[in-house]
């Protein structure tokens, strides 16, 4: 299954590329990713809990690395959910912003795991990626992921409706949301 997404970020290409190239940053805006750890010049270790309800970990390697233009990666042999992705970075016509075009491919396995994954992606597999890119844009343009009273979770979007009412959080809810 291939999923594509695109957005324009009002920051220079060099900055947007550098942010993405530091793979540790990906878990700041990708809802499913718990963390990414660089393990070598071209290798990294990825850990995800959602959408499977249990931890999934895999190693990945960079397949293309053209500074300011293009970044590609794929999971190493033996990954439970084989996947690959490429991001293309390009200056926008305004001379200020950066267009990014993302294409990700998942090799969805058979069996129960495959069903769970298919269910998670649902009818609109690109929605998850769109939301991830929206959060990336917020991070790079404003410095943080926007929170409201109705949707205070930041990266953990939980966009399902109904949301919590648009009224201030209790101290307990605040602690849960901010982790402090």
């Amino acid at each position: 299954m291939e999923v594509t997404g695109t957005t324009t970020i009002r920051r220079p290409v060099s900055e947007v590329f550098a942010f993405w190239r530091r793979l540790e940053n990906l878990s700041m805006f990708m809802e499913q990713l718990d963390d990414v750890r660089t393990t070598g010049e071209r290798t990294s270790h990825w850990r995800s809990s959602a959408p499977f309800g249990r931890n999934v970990e895999w190693d990945a390697e960079i397949t293309e690395d053209v500074t300011g233009e293009r970044l590609g990666w794929r999971s190493s042999a033996g990954a439970e959910l084989p996947n690959a992705g490429v991001v293309i970075f390009a200056p926008a016509p305004d001379g200020i912003s950066t267009e990014i075009h993302v294409a990700m491919e998942y090799d969805i396995p058979g069996g129960e795991a495959g069903k769970a994954i298919a269910k998670f992606f649902g009818d609109e597999p690109s929605q998850q990626l769109d939301d991830d890119l929206r959060r990336l844009k917020q991070l790079l343009e404003t410095g943080e992921i926007v929170r409201s009273d109705g949707a205070p979770w930041g990266k953990r979007a939980r966009e399902e409706f109904p949301q919590r009412p648009a009224q201030p959080l209790t101290p307990e809810e605040r602690k849960e949301v901010l982790g402090s």
Binding site: R10, K137, E144, P165
Partner: protein, 391 residues
């Protein structure tokens, strides 16, 4: 704290809710000193804006004193003790829309942008107290409010102007002004304004301030028309005359050069069968908005004129007079107000005495009396034009 909350369709209650706190680095907490009920709040109460939830704190017109700021708000921009008016759209100040001063289209301030995008094609900014479609932000008809991107929005008031003189910079004065500004008013222009509610009144005053030769007010409530007439505008009661004929009469057959729709989605038509047609379709959800004012504005406007829409629409309309619009070279301009753009220049107009926003206030109530305020405003009882609430 106490807050006015949406408790279901046609139900507003004052409830005890948690006090707001800083959630993001660029937040401020404001202790509210004055807040108001807006005509667009009635669309929420009447159930025409989707994604409201029981317990949502209402209100997007408010001002007060900053009591706390997050670490991301520079002290030279805002600090505790500052007296501020808060603009109703929430804007980040950094995206392409904000850079173009299109603050109500901010690309980053709505955490539910994905839903708004599905409905409107592209996302819209977060708005205080105005459904989850515009972010699910708690509103300002309360004792305190959390203000995100506080380094961008709030306007500091350093002069001794009263709350009532500056409160409406939060929404209705800039909204009315933008309605007139979009008309590119020339000295020879006759401007007709549909709706003599608070926004309509300010659109009329702004049209005159921008140099219109004459301003016509169209409504059906005698007290609203009286208020417009007292401010020097020409009243037209659409229940007593045929609006198009009257407008031709008032303009030597030319039609108004510029038309402003300050009514929006819940318009009432003078001819009961036409009103019934759209009211029925709306009740059956076959169309979401009743566009009588917009249709009439398009048909009435002189060829080559501008129709400026500041009344709120939420969804879809039928029988849009595309033929009149196209063949007579009309320009249709619109937008939720980009309030940030207008606050400082309009503050200066108030200071110079060119605009008097207090002239529309008819009711001053406590926050506890908010449900009553909604009731009289919605039902146009007791000559209610504008309700200001004091928490």
């Amino acid at each position: 704290m106490k807050a006015t909350v949406w408790a279901g369709r046609n139900s507003v209650e004052v409830r005890e809710v948690p006090d707001p706190s800083i959630l993001s680095r660029r937040d401020a907490i404001v202790r509210i000193t004055s807040t108001a009920i807006c005509g667009s709040d009635l669309h929420l109460v009447d159930g025409y804006i989707p994604t409201m939830q029981n317990g949502d704190v209402m209100g997007h017109e408010f001002m007060g004193e900053v009591v706390e700021v997050g670490p991301g708000v520079p002290p030279d921009r805002l600090r505790p003790g500052d007296r501020v008016v808060v603009p109703f759209p929430i804007a980040c100040g950094a995206c392409a829309a904000c850079a173009s001063e299109l603050y109500s289209c901010c690309e980053n301030s709505n955490p539910n942008a994905g839903i708004a995008e599905k409905m409107f094609g592209h996302p819209v900014a977060g708005i205080f107290g105005y459904s989850h479609l515009t972010g699910g932000f708690a509103g300002g008809q309360a004792q305190y409010a959390r203000v995100p991107f506080a380094d961008v929005g709030p306007l500091k008031i350093t002069s001794d102007l009263s709350d009532e003189q500056v409160l409406f910079l939060s929404d209705i004065l800039p909204t009315g002004y933008m309605g007139a500004e979009m008309c590119d008013i020339q000295p020879s222009d006759v401007v007709a304004v549909w709706g003599a509610g608070p926004v309509g009144q300010f659109a009329m005053d702004s049209a005159r301030a921008l140099g219109a030769a004459a301003v016509i007010a169209i409504d059906k409530e005698p007290y609203r028309l009286r208020m417009a007439a007292e401010a020097g505008h020409i009243p037209v009661d659409f229940t007593e005359v045929d609006v198009r004929s009257q407008l031709l009469e008032l303009t030597g057959g030319r039609g108004p050069d510029k038309c402003i729709d300050a009514v929006g989605m819940e318009a009432v038509h003078g001819a009961s069968h036409i009103h019934a047609y759209d009211r029925l379709k709306q009740a059956a959800r076959l169309e979401t908005d009743r566009p009588h004012a917009l249709r009439q504005a398009i048909l009435s406007c002189r060829s080559g004129g501008i129709v400026s829409v500041i009344g709120v629409y939420g969804g879809f309309i039928d029988k849009f007079p595309a033929g009149a619009w196209m063949n007579r070279a009309l320009t249709l301009r619109t937008g939720q107000c980009h309030v940030h753009r207008y606050m400082q220049p309009l503050l200066e107009r108030i200071e110079r005495g060119e605009l008097d926003p207090t002239r529309i206030i008819t009711h001053r109530l406590s926050l506890d009396e908010a449900p009553h305020g909604y009731d009289i405003f919605k039902n146009k009882q007791d000559d209610c034009e504008k309700v200001v609430l004091t928490p």
